[in-house]
């Protein structure tokens, strides 16, 4: 076995783990877009607040002293609840008054909310980066010359898969999920059929934001440095992943995110690390030229 193929497997694992984190972010974008046709720019900053919430709760209770599943679960729960509450608040205060306004206005409001969270966080949490506590011991589960499987990567996979299964259940096997899909299909028709659109929108924001919360803890574990602007780049990439898969399409978002994660890892590994951030946008522009509806999106024809 050469070291080359060993490296390849390692990069594959890293890429998948990065991709699954992107997936958690991308799902939030794609769900909100599906329901409201709004690029929720604040999503990335909700994620940032989630990271800080779990950071402070871990400091406060002293979760770092006894890492394990209990600590991880508690951090995840804090982050999810904080993000969900924040998401709902933003929807209620900033987006709902503009539901019927031109799209440009809502988009600008979203940017405003995003900036508010970023700069508010710089004042409240401080602009300097903080070290995220180790909630799970990072030891090698499998340590062979062929590949090293770290417990962190396994945690990221397992948590992501559990979250995706939960999401799948909520969206496809509950009444609320059915209403959500109906609203995403056509808001007017859904409200005519007696679906409470506002409740569905709130539900969507709760789902999307909690996923971002999960993502923030996983990122905190894997890249233990958190700061108020940490959401900007990952948010953009999550959005690109959503567009890549076909915005509004949930399985597309996961697929797009995995592609993003893998291609980013391999570009950094085999080409150049400066290309890392340019790659995402290159991909985006490419997809807009050749397949604007995304990999799994449907081409919609607008009828007058």
């Amino acid at each position: 076995m050469t070291s080359e193929s060993h490296d390849f497997l390692q990069h594959l694992i890293n890429g998948l783990s990065l991709g699954s984190i992107y997936a958690l972010i991308a799902l939030g974008y794609t769900m909100v877009y599906g329901v409201l046709q709004l690029i929720n720019f604040a999503h990335a900053d909700i994620y940032m607040v989630g990271a800080f919430a779990s950071y402070y709760i871990s400091k406060w209770i002293g979760l770092e002293a006894n890492p394990g599943f209990m600590a991880l679960g508690l951090a995840l729960l804090t982050s999810m609840v904080t993000c969900a509450v924040l998401g709902v608040l933003i929807e209620r205060l900033a987006y709902r008054p503009l539901r019927k306004a031109p799209k440009l206005n809502i988009l600008i409001t979203a940017i405003g909310v995003s900036l508010l969270l970023q700069f508010g966080a710089q004042i409240i949490f401080g602009a300097d980066p903080k070290v995220f506590p180790t909630l799970i011991e990072d030891k090698s589960l499998i340590d062979t010359p062929l590949l090293i499987l770290k417990s962190l990567d396994v945690t990221v996979f397992v948590v992501t898969i559990l979250a995706l299964l939960g999401l799948h259940f909520l969206v496809f096997h509950t009444k609320m999920g059915k209403s959500m899909r109906a609203v995403s299909h056509s808001m007017t028709n859904a409200s005519l059929l007696g679906i409470n659109v506002n409740r569905v929108v709130v539900f969507t924001f709760i789902l999307g934001s909690s996923l971002a919360g999960i993502g923030s803890v996983l990122v905190g574990l894997k890249y233990p440095k958190i700061e108020p602007l940490m959401g900007v780049m990952i948010g953009l990439k999550g959005f690109v992943a959503a567009v890549l898969g076909g915005i509004g399409n949930m399985s597309g978002a996961v697929l797009g995110a995995l592609i993003m994660g893998l291609s980013e890892e391999f570009v950094v590994a085999y080409l150049s690390s400066t290309l890392r951030d340019a790659l995402a946008f290159g991909l985006l522009i490419g997809i807009l030229i050749w397949k604007p509806s995304g990999l799994m999106g449907k081409n919609t024809i607008e009828k007058v």
Partner: protein
């Protein structure tokens, strides 16, 4: 023809005189602020064409400004004597080149993304701005992260100081720019832009090439941004990748939105407001001890969108507002 010449001469004369008045009446700090307002107004006017008239959303205007700024900075570095020997003409040539290069980039970026509907332009332009920044950070000939420093400033002419020359130069761009977009939007092109904004499907069914219309407005806006960037380079004398980041783009968008989408005088007014507000808010920082400027800024953005979604001027221009105000009074 004679009449037109008269108007041009009168405009030049009034620019010179107001420049003289400002040169001797106010201090350097306010002078710099005035020049910055004019520069941002040029960028905002251009963007208003895209955001206000054509109803598209660009979030990477700082990128196009960066292209203009770096063009001007780089050219004045490799041709050091050129600006001195040609006086103001050289600055015009650099600004035009910067604008053209920015417009070329605008075409390349705009064409794929403007074919599509919706918010894609916002994301692609945002991405473009970021990519450009990454490239600028890595190009050693353009100074990488340090940027280019010591760019030739506007010269002095006899008893006319640097402020007067800068003011004269920027004012010419400002007036020509305002005149051009004003005429443009009040003719056939303007109606085409508006038709795309109001209903793209209807515009398409009237046989308009909506993609071409959108690209046209975007390319013009990029040119304006390029020129504004070139002015920035000579005005501030330093360009670096970090200056032309996302915040600069957002600032220009805010000028357009705050002033009213579709109102050029509104954009100018808002450019003044956005440039001056942080300076005025400095005292707030002294009281609270925190840098609350950006928080106030973003909060006011949200509140304006919720309570006055059309911006301060709406789609009206200053003369319209004055006229209706007079009619109400009488």
């Amino acid at each position: 023809m004679k009449n037109k010449l008269k108007v041009v001469l009168m405009v030049l004369a009034s620019i010179s005189i107001s420049g003289l008045v400002l040169q001797f009446s106010i201090n350097a700090y306010i002078q710099i602020l005035i020049l910055q307002i004019l520069m941002y107004s040029i960028a905002a006017m251009g963007l208003n064409l895209v955001n206000g008239f054509t109803g598209q959303f660009s979030l990477g205007h700082a990128g196009f400004m960066a292209i203009g700024a770096y063009t001007s900075a780089y050219l004045s570095q490799i041709f050091p004597g050129f600006l001195e020997s040609t006086h103001l003409l050289g600055f015009f040539i650099f600004s035009i080149l910067g604008g053209l290069l920015a417009a070329g980039f605008g075409y390349v970026v705009g064409l794929p993304s403007l074919r599509l509907k919706g918010d894609y332009l916002a994301i692609v332009t945002l991405g473009f701005g970021e990519i450009l920044r990454v490239f600028l950070l890595n190009i050693e000939t353009l100074g990488a992260a340090r940027g280019i420093t010591g760019i030739v400033p506007y010269p002095e002419l006899g008893f006319l100081d640097r402020f007067w020359v800068s003011f004269f130069y920027i004012m010419i761009w400002f007036v020509v720019g305002l005149y051009f977009v004003w005429r443009l939007t009040r003719g056939r092109h303007g109606r085409q832009f508006l038709s795309v904004r109001e209903d793209e499907v209807a515009a398409l069914s009237l046989g308009l090439n909506t993609t071409q219309i959108k690209v046209r407005s975007f390319v013009i806006a990029s040119f304006y941004a390029g020129v504004a960037g070139s002015i920035y380079a000579h005005l501030i004398s330093i360009v670096s990748p970090s200056v032309f980041g996302f915040m600069m783009s957002v600032n220009i968008v805010v000028m357009v939105v705050l002033g009213g989408m579709g109102s050029f005088t509104g954009s100018i007014f808002a450019a003044a407001f956005v440039t001056l507000a942080p300076e005025l808010l400095r005292s707030l920082q002294a009281i609270t001890g925190y840098d609350l400027r950006m928080v106030v800024f973003s909060l006011s953005l949200i509140l304006i969108m919720i309570y006055r979604p059309t911006g301060l001027f709406g789609s009206k221009e200053l003369p319209d507002i004055v006229r209706s105000w007079r009619m109400k009074k009488s």
